[in-house]
Symmetry: C2
Subunit: 154 residues, 2 copies
DNA sequence: GTGTCTAGCTGAACCATATTCGGTATTGTA
DNA sequence: TACAATACCGAATATGGTTCAGCTAGACAC
């Protein structure tokens, strides 16, 4: 874990909300010059705290109306690492986690229509190592993509 | 749903991967001038396709070691919309969806430690309207935050 | 105490890029 | 044909990213 002070945490919060803020603007908010903010941000990138700069796209606006969480049970001889590369070939699958409990793998997926979700499920079930899937369809999303709050140093 | 042509989709893909690309660089990749790309991007922002510019932070690097999905069952007289504002008060909760099936609400949460997750679960259980929770702890994440592929126009 | 090193900051200068603008080609429509 | 709307281009301008030299404070050795 990377050591972060109060100012680093404030910068990360601001950039998670709006990464296009100018360094001068961030500096005004956290009490530093633009150059100092620049320095800190570059350091955070180098240390891997900032992984990427991205846009957040509205899924519905680009035709992805359906969101679902797909719980996958694997056969005993298969691991999440075995099947993940295959799941990565399905562009509908946005996330892939190995999980503890009743479930072995948890996927988050988005499709244009319920029919497309059905087709995706069939493809997933056919992946070698997959034993069973249980899907939870999202009816509405209250919030998503909220900023992560950095943990205070101990 | 917003109508997007092939170039819009290409621009959205590039920006989801790396939103700091210059308009000139994007233009070179999609076959347009910088000014034309600028035009299209502003239009995508205005139409709500691009919701925000954000940084992607490595949760582990900022001390968030634990990720969990929390399935919430509500009492019959409660709705997801009722409880969501309270969940929004918990900064550990990153996503909140209303779901169909066995479950009423699905949360994604991140905490520093398993103990913190335990405390969060207690707080969630105490929210009025919540009947039961079932948690799935993530052991490892294969991938996350993949770009959404815009649906082709019909 | 003095000297030295380092980390982190500042303001200024410079340069890349975002943004604006005027003009042109294309398409659809009356 | 004329007209309007759209999407594009290159050039000019404005903004902000990036670099740099120098300053300060703190840690450390002597």
């Amino acid at each position: 874990m990377v050591q972060l002070d109060t100012i680093d945490r404030a910068i990360l919060l601001e950039l998670q909300k709006e990464s296009r803020l100018s360094y001068a603007e961030i500096g005004a908010r956290v009490g530093l010059s633009a150059a100092a903010v620049h320095d800190r941000v570059k350091k955070l990138e180098r240390k891997g705290v900032i992984e990427a700069y991205r846009i957040q796209v509205n899924p519905k606006a680009i035709g992805l109306q359906v969101t679902a969480f797909i719980a996958v049970r694997l056969q005993n001889d298969a691991t999440c690492a075995d099947v993940a590369p295959t799941f990565a070939d399905f562009p509908e699958v946005e996330e892939c986690h190995s999980a503890a409990g009743d479930i072995d793998v948890l996927l988050k997926a988005r499709t244009a229509t319920p029919e497309d979700l059905e087709k995706l499920l069939y493809r997933i079930k056919r992946v070698p190592g997959v034993s069973r899937t249980t899907s939870t369809v999202v009816l509405s999303t209250q919030f998503e993509a909220r900023p992560l709050i950095p943990v205070e140093a101990e």
